[in-house]
């Protein structure tokens, strides 16, 4: 379930990648990502805390993570 202002889209190809999950968990300053059993999990209650820093986009393979700004329909990544 997306946040009120922000949603993140993770490509299925990296969702089960433990390395990417760990990197995302470490990179996000507001704890939107969590690594659970080697999979990437999105912490929904933190979605709206996103500061649009793009660290998650840089931490994951290109094009696999998108941050969607629901208030204007644009996306990062």
């Amino acid at each position: 379930m997306p946040g009120m202002f922000i949603d993140v889209e993770i490509d299925d190809s990296v969702r089960g990648d433990a390395d990417v999950a760990k990197k995302l968990e470490q990179a996000c300053p507001v704890d939107i990502y969590a690594e659970r059993d080697g999979r990437v999990e999105v912490v929904e209650e933190n979605l709206d805390e996103c500061v649009l820093c793009e660290l998650c986009i840089h931490a994951s393979p290109e094009g696999t993570v998108r941050v969607v700004k629901l208030y204007d329909g644009t996306a990062l990544g």
Partner: protein, 710 residues
């Protein structure tokens, strides 16, 4: 924070000020025992943190211990101004020949402490000042120079007191002054200071207030007095609304969204940023609006924190709309706050467009924020709309009904202002009372602790007398900058180079970076002694005593301080320091620690701000060269300020000569001191070699005043 009378007496006793025989009792039996020990008539005084004890029946006289016990029992049950007494003070009822007043307070204009003495004590000193000004003696004293008793003597003597009385009163006032600075007081007064039948003086009542910001360093005193960390000593108990606000703030370390004060209006306020809260609150009132609350939001709080604060304000009974307004923000993000307030409205089932009267927060990430507001149809304003205008628009949108919540009387006054409980002023409630984290630590301690953990600031080793200014004069005397100076400059966060703004010549150095309140004074001292002539202090909650010392040292050294609690300075389009908003092309210094790290890099990137490094990189680190350059720039800056032109050689020589003798301000003060001494003794100032001759002897002069400067 205020002290009870019995605590004030303990403080006086620590400093050797004579007191009447007394004792503090928590029960009537203890009061009886103390009365027996004193032997003779006694006074029983209720120990409450409010005035009007006598009128309320909180002060009674007793001739016997049994009578004292009965009175104590009554007083201990007596509520005064909404406060129950903590105990009773049993004081001997001495025969008083005359009552005097002795007090020390801050002179907010000159930023130094001042004595106030009167030979008409026992009654309202303000009234005496109006009706009998000749009975009031005043005198300022330094916070960094050694304490001189003659200043106290001057204050006492100016009321016409002479002889033995003068000699007995002077040390009492001088000790009170020492106590005032030693314990970070904002008020220390003895009223009445009683002269007994045998001619001796004793303090019969005392009132002391300590700076809230100094609670940490005055910990040992507070511990000795038994004042717990949980005691905020506020004028009234916080309301449930305010407690909830504190909880919201302490629940999340990110930013500030709290310091809530409850009022009885119908317009909820979510306001903040660099002093903007007070300005906006006043602006709303000036347009006839009735704020439902005061609060502070800033420092880039999280969305959830902003959301929770907004929910709190919206859920207050009587609140019809909220106004979200700030000054221009740099480190608080507009879009984050916008998300928080919109989310709060939606989650409470309100239409944001209907509930938010106006959103006026220009600054960082405002484009993103405005997109969010547009989507939800909220009226917003950018920096082209002043805070005052935004407040007017918000007030216009709120219906004019009384909208009073159940917490108060509905007249716009704070809850509790029913004549019984002293209503706090806005300044009282926003002056940094203790805010707590979930773990029980004070919020300010938590910040300092976090900084220590992060390795940014380490307390100095051991426990030397932290009140002794560490003036690094030896660096100056050595005649070169050297590693000590560089270290001092680093500690102070000083960036050396040309003045901000390039060719304006406003000073020889500048201070950047941010220090927590506990370390600001040392940083500024070292910066001044390292030759920095312009210091901008954005830090807030610095104890007043520290501020006074910084200001005084700056005056002595010819430096200039802007701040503390300064929003920042800006030369639009060129550079800015601090949290002030506005366009800056070359460099930027902001309050957030994370942002500070990129500041040096930015300055290095823009080499016109590190002029010296670009021109003579090989010699940058040579202290002598740097010192000469800064001295030259300082002279040029001073000339520009004083004369409106660059100095010629003659002017510069004169200026050097003045500096060599300690600066013009110091020379003038010395001259004033000597002239005052002459006037006292001769009725007129003497001139030439005779000036101040009474103070000139190298050893002890004939009046036994000790050693003085020539």
């Amino acid at each position: 924070m205020r002290f009870y009378e019995y605590e004030s007496r303990q403080i006086l006793a620590r400093e050797g000020i004579p007191l009447s025989k007394h004792g503090f009792a928590r029960t009537a039996e203890e009061a009886k025992q103390i009365a027996e020990d004193i032997g003779g008539p006694v006074v029983i005084k209720s120990q409450v943190l409010t005035g009007g004890r006598m009128k309320a029946g909180g002060v009674k006289f007793a001739d016997t211990p049994e009578e004292a016990q009965a009175h104590a029992r009554d007083i201990l049950q007596l509520e005064i101004g909404g406060h129950m007494p903590r105990g009773v003070l049993v004081d001997s009822r001495a025969e008083i020949k005359q009552e005097y007043y002795a007090g020390v307070v801050w002179d907010g204009v000159r930023k130094v402490p001042t004595f106030v003495f009167s030979d008409m004590g026992g009654i309202d000193i303000e009234e005496v000042a109006e009706t009998h000004p000749e009975h009031i003696g005043r005198g300022h004293f330094s916070t960094i120079l050694p304490h001189m008793d003659f200043r106290a003597k001057d204050a006492v003597a100016s009321t016409g007191i002479t002889g033995t009385e003068l000699n007995r009163l002077t040390p009492i006032l001088a000790k009170l002054a020492r106590l005032f600075v030693k314990y970070d007081m904002t008020l220390a007064e003895i009223n009445p200071l009683a002269q007994l039948a045998d001619g001796t003086f004793v303090a019969v009542d005392a009132h002391m207030d300590m700076e809230n910001e100094a609670r940490v360093r005055q910990g040992p005193l507070l511990k000795e007095l038994g004042v717990g960390d949980e005691e905020t000593r506020e004028a009234r108990e916080p309301t449930a609304f305010e407690i909830r606000g504190e909880q919201i703030d302490s629940a999340d370390h990110r930013g500030v969204a709290g310091n809530v004060t409850e009022f009885d209006g119908n317009l909820g306020l979510v306001i903040g940023a660099g002093g903007g809260s007070l300005t906006l609150f006043d602006a709303v009132q000036s347009h006839g609006g009735r704020p439902a609350n005061y609060c502070e939001i800033g420092g880039n709080p999280s969305v959830s924190k902003a959301c929770n604060l907004t929910k709190l304000v919206l859920s207050k009974p009587g609140v019809e709309k909220i106004a979200v307004m700030m000054s221009i923000v740099s480190n608080t993000r507009v879009d984050i706050v916008a998300r928080g307030v919109v989310k709060a409205c939606v989650e409470l089932g309100h239409d944001p467009a209907e509930k938010i009267a106006i959103f006026r927060i220009p600054g960082a990430w405002e484009e993103e924020g405005f997109k969010i507001l547009e989507k939800y149809g909220v009226e917003y304003a950018d920096r082209s709309v002043s805070m005052h205008e935004a407040a007017r628009r918000a007030v216009e949108k709120v219906p004019a009904g009384d909208g009073a919540g159940p917490a108060g009387s509905g007249d716009g006054a704070p809850p509790g202002s029913d004549g019984k409980t002293a209503a706090p002023s806005l300044a009282d409630r926003t002056s940094g009372e203790v805010r707590r984290c979930r773990d029980g630590r004070r919020a300010s301690d938590r910040r300092v602790d976090d900084l220590h953990r992060a390795g940014h600031h380490r307390p100095r080793g051991g426990e030397p007398d932290a009140r002794v200014p560490r003036l690094r004069l030896e660096d100056h005397r050595r005649g070169h900058a050297g590693p000590a100076r560089a270290r001092g400059a680093r500690r102070a966060g000083v960036r050396l180079g040309r003045p901000v703004g390039g060719r304006s010549g406003a000073g020889a150095g500048r201070l950047g970076g941010h220090r927590p309140p506990a370390f600001t004074r040392d940083a500024v001292f070292e910066a001044i002694e390292a030759g920095v002539r312009l210091i901008v202090i954005v830090t807030e909650r610095i104890p007043r005593y520290d501020v006074a010392q910084m200001v005084e040292l700056a005056a002595l050294r010819g430096a200039r301080i802007i701040g503390p609690n300064c929003l920042g300075i800006i030369r639009p389009g060129v550079a800015k320091m601090g949290g002030i908003g506005g366009p800056s092309r070359r460099g930027q210094v902001v309050r957030a620690r994370a942002h500070r790290r990129d500041v040096p890099q930015r300055w290095h990137d823009h080499r016109d701000l590190v002029h010296a490094q670009r021109r003579r990189p090989g010699r940058l680190d040579r202290g002598l060269d740097r010192r000469r350059r800064h001295h030259r720039l300082h002279l040029r800056g001073a000339d520009a300020l004083l004369r409106g032109r660059r100095a010629d050689r003659g002017d510069r020589d004169l200026h050097r000569a003045r500096r060599a003798h300690g600066g013009r301000a110091r020379a003038l003060r010395e001259r004033e001191r000597l002239a005052a001494a002459d006037r006292r003794l001769h009725g007129r100032p003497l001139h030439g070699r005779n000036a101040g001759h009474v103070l000139r002897p190298r050893g002890h002069d004939r009046r036994g005043q000790g050693r003085h400067r020539r």
